[in-house]
Subunit: 442 residues, 2 copies
């Protein structure tokens, strides 16, 4: 059984109520098995009693980041859908490229993406994709944490709901509990009301949540009102989706009425700031969600829109975009950005009492960060540097579920070169673009 | 005399006319003394004839980035002016903190900032600051390239113009030609028309350019129209500033008429995207500048507004912000962003025929980038990865004026720990905040 001591760290403390962040020096973190047993001033325990000791002097320790909405295996097409409108991005690029996907690609794509996530301090991911049994193998192998939702389109009918329901049952609690599952109808624009209703019913029956794209742009809201007389959020409400714990991806196009609806349901919003900028998806009512006490968490989306899986960059872009759009430099202060990146993301991910903080009883998903680089000097205020200056390689060591996955930048559970080699053999086939073949139409 | 071979590199080629970027594999770059002598396919020269050979297989080679507007020594106050409106940022924070500045601080602050710049591939900087003889020493020491403008406020009168004119004469061509100089009246809002006119006259007489802040926000334009009946750009035109080669910092608040004026003068615009987001300075008419063929280059501004001196991040944020503000994902494609980062910046910096490209006869300011990290895989398209995925530590080797300044992340001309130690002794004094004492009022 793991018995791990992180010694003499500077610990990030984020107060979710006051939305402030401080750093507490001289802290020990005691990890037993997969949980944090104690957090205390250095000097109270004898390091020789521990199987492993990580000396953390000069390092900042914080909870691993949680990616609340991604399509990690889409890393396979990195850089192949650039400088496009959202329509072209879907129809002429991504949904054509995805026609090339084979199940085993998902295993290698998931591994490559998880390597990137771990290297930038992301320890858990709510992934929404296809062929997830292959993704689960990758998660098991590398030692990551994930919440898996098997993507389904309305055109695939009840049979697909039944199939993904079996996936939910088969993989709930897999990888020693690191894998949780839920249902994942793609969106109200690719799933009709009957399909959404059947999905919600299946989720209720299984006792799991739902993960869905919704109101990604204002235009989607306008189109839905024109076509159905209802906003996409109203459709989710009427079909029962909102009755189960639901991760809503994006929601950039929510109306004030939509926000009032959402505030009454057990939902969380996954916010992917870089994607919104890159695909020009418009202003997002993020501050309104927060004002309505709707949980908000960070998300990378897929790298085909976001370019990377780096959530530190996402946090920074979220804060910068909110200041820019509000026209006020005071908006989204450092403590609020860090509260979203930690406890906010844990709420959206559905484990607010086990993730997103370094506290006794919490799961041991912990990252160590080196703030000694020139780009952090002089270091008057570490929380500022986390939000505005951090470079992914500052993340030195990553622990997930009590296991050291990366130590001083060395990955311990995976052979990176083997993954690269496997990906290389797939590039030509995966990048073949036949716009006449698409998995869906936007 | 340096005789240096970079062997078997992938060379970035940016076509400024078509605004496209490609990567050419298998290229040798021959450097003699401080200039590029030849660029050719690998295998045509005998490596044993060279004093130094850098094996660049698997590396991308591109021109060093040029920072067109900075206050590098302000790194001394990193993180001390956060989450503020632009008014508070000036009056209650920066102009109060700068009251603590002593001349020798500039030497150490400049060194620390230059270390950060070199570590992210920035090889030249147009700096606008105080006590520049100390900055020049730091540039000489570390081996960087700079265009120095000694900041002056109108309240300091003709005596200051005369003093900074002496600086221009004393330091023009210093550090074996790596230092150039110009005059640097701060801005139209801190310098009256007579002072600007006298500055322009002095620059004409000295045969040098000018570096000035102007129209930083729409509000500054509105205030100027109310107070003077003219926009800040019109004031620069009337006072003769635009008649000499001039670097205009920011210009976010330019009117369409201002842009028509600027297109007729030898000016360039320094664009600091992260600062504009962070201080909520509003939308910038960047695409209109480009349409009017006004040169645009990248800028970090000071780290007190920008947090870092990382121009790769600035380039990315420029492209993302332009897409977001235009509401079109097609805007500011990859090739255009790279053209601004290379030749565009060289034009603004005033050395378009010597910097910003890897061509025979150009100055040897060259950086080597490792694109083998997981965050670049699979690598279908390297120019995309430069704009959207690069992390500063991917910059492995930096050559300035033919001299290797950083090799495989090791700085060769400076002891980083000594700089850190010197900065630490200054932190308490520099961070003392007495809002009653300011160097100016905004």
């Amino acid at each position: 059984m793991t018995h791990l001591l992180i010694q003499n760290a500077q610990l990030l403390r984020v107060d979710a109520v006051t939305q402030t962040a401080i750093v507490q020096p001289g802290q020990d973190i005691v990890i037993r098995s997969n949980r944090i047993e104690a957090v205390q001033a250095t000097g109270q325990v004898d390091a020789s009693h521990f199987a492993t000791v990580i000396e953390a002097a000069g390092m900042l320790v914080m909870p691993g980041l949680i990616n609340c909405h991604a399509h990690v295996p889409m890393v396979l097409w990195r850089g192949l859908a650039e400088d496009a409108s959202i329509d072209r991005w879907f129809n002429d690029m991504m949904w054509a490229l995805e026609h090339n996907l084979q199940p085993e690609d998902v295993y290698w794509g998931m591994l490559l993406g998880l390597i990137e996530q771990i290297e930038c301090g992301v320890t858990a991911v709510a992934d929404h994709y296809f062929h997830l049994a292959y993704a689960a193998q990758a998660i098991e192998k590398i030692g990551a944490r994930a919440l898996l939702g098997y993507a389904m389109f309305g055109s695939e009918g009840q049979a697909k709901i039944d199939e993904t329901a079996r996936f939910v049952q088969d993989y709930q609690g897999a990888a020693q509990g690191r894998i949780r599952t839920l249902l994942a109808p793609h969106s109200p624009y690719t799933c009709d009301a009957d399909f959404l209703r059947a999905s919600a019913k299946a989720a209720q029956k299984l006792g799991v949540g739902i993960h869905i794209h919704v109101s990604e742009t204002k235009q989607q809201t306008i189109d839905s009102l024109r076509k159905h007389g209802k906003t996409p959020i109203q459709i989710l409400q009427e079909t029962g989706i909102l009755d189960v714990p639901t991760i809503l991806a994006h929601v950039c196009g929510a109306t004030p009425d939509d926000i009032r609806i959402l505030a009454r349901y057990p939902v969380g919003i996954a916010h992917a700031a870089k994607t919104y900028l890159k695909l020009a998806m418009g202003k997002t009512p993020l501050l309104e969600f927060i004002a309505a006490n709707i949980p908000v968490g960070l998300a990378s989306d897929g790298v085909v829109s976001n370019s990377t899986l780096n959530l530190f960059e996402t946090m920074r872009l979220m804060a910068l975009t909110q200041k820019h759009d509000a026209g006020m430099g005071e908006v989204m202060p450092i403590g609020q950005a860090l509260a979203i990146a930690t406890q906010g993301s844990a709420r959206v991910y559905g484990q607010p009492d086990e993730l997103g903080a370094i506290e006794p009883g919490y799961l041991a998903d912990v990252i160590l960060i080196d703030l000694n680089g020139a780009h952090h000097q002089p270091l008057y205020h570490a929380p500022f540097s986390l939000v505005y200056n951090l470079q992914a390689p500052d993340v030195r060591t990553v622990i997930i579920d009590g296991q050291i996955i990366m130590r001083d930048r060395h990955l311990l559970t995976i052979d990176k070169q083997e993954v690269y080699a496997q990906i290389r053999t797939r590039m030509e086939r995966l990048s073949y673009l036949d716009p006449a073949k698409r998995i869906q139409t936007y």
